[in-house]
């Protein structure tokens, strides 16, 4: 079984500054994906960024980037130039790769981190 741990229940940052959210995971699988999802007050889950475990290069999406440390099973999210619209709950999530069609795309989530961006 897979587990995902987010040890920071809440974080805050000033607008335009940088913040890093932490995530660790545990698995015996070798092929998997890691994700960060954002859930704003509207409750709609939005995919922020994903990382394929077989790729050594860290994923980036505009102001969002990850630090993927496979050996340490760590997957942190860095938000640069924070904006008020980044205020949300952020979830780290894990998915086994669909080899053989057995994973069905199931996600295992961490506990979530509430991020507040202050003006």
């Amino acid at each position: 079984a897979q587990t995902v741990t987010q040890s920071q229940p809440e974080m805050s940052v000033q607008e335009a500054e940088t913040v890093t959210l932490s995530c660790t995971y545990d698995t015996s699988e070798s092929n998997y994906y890691l994700f960060w999802y954002k859930q704003p007050p509207s409750r709609q889950m939005i995919l922020v960024i994903r990382q394929e475990a077989y790729k050594q290069q860290n994923a980036t999406e505009n102001r969002f980037s990850v630090n993927f440390q496979k050996a340490a099973k760590s997957f942190s999210l860095k938000i640069s130039d924070s904006q008020l619209g980044d205020t949300a709950m952020y979830f780290c999530a894990f998915m086994i790769s669909n080899a053989g069609g057995t994973s069905y795309g199931k996600l295992t989530f961490g506990q979530g981190t509430i991020l507040t961006v202050h003006p």
Binding site: Q6, Q44, M95, N98, G105, K106, F109, G112
Partner: protein, 116 residues
């Protein structure tokens, strides 16, 4: 535009009532999921379905059942609602994957259920 809809945003029910939460997707996805979201626990998988009439238990299936009679619709059923089932319920769908292909999971807006 991809769309997953849930029948209610907010629902209030009484202990012992039978509750149906409906989820519909318009993307012809094979896989559908029901998650429960609680503070400090994140999202936990209740049940999922990989085809019509097919279902598999997730991590916390106790007290719940599901129905998938049509590909686009996946229902979560609380046979006899209890107060500890007060929670946010999220539905999601994703297409059938092949090999190591990644397929994004699309979420509905959630139903906040209160059981009194």
């Amino acid at each position: 535009d991809v769309k997953v809809t849930q029948s209610s945003r907010y629902l209030v029910k009484r202990t012992g009532e039978k509750v149906f939460l409906e989820c519909v997707q318009d993307m012809d996805h094979e896989n559908m999921f029901w998650y429960r979201q609680d503070p400090g626990l994140g999202l936990r998988l209740i049940y999922f379905s990989y085809d019509v009439k097919m279902k598999e238990k997730g991590d916390i299936p106790e007290g719940y059942s599901v129905s998938r009679e049509k590909k686009e619709r996946f229902s979560l059923i609380l046979e006899s609602a209890s107060t500890n089932q007060t929670s946010m319920y999220l539905c999601a769908s994703t297409p059938l994957g092949e090999g190591l292909t990644y397929n994004e999971q699309f979420f509905g807006p959630g139903t906040r259920l209160t059981v009194l």
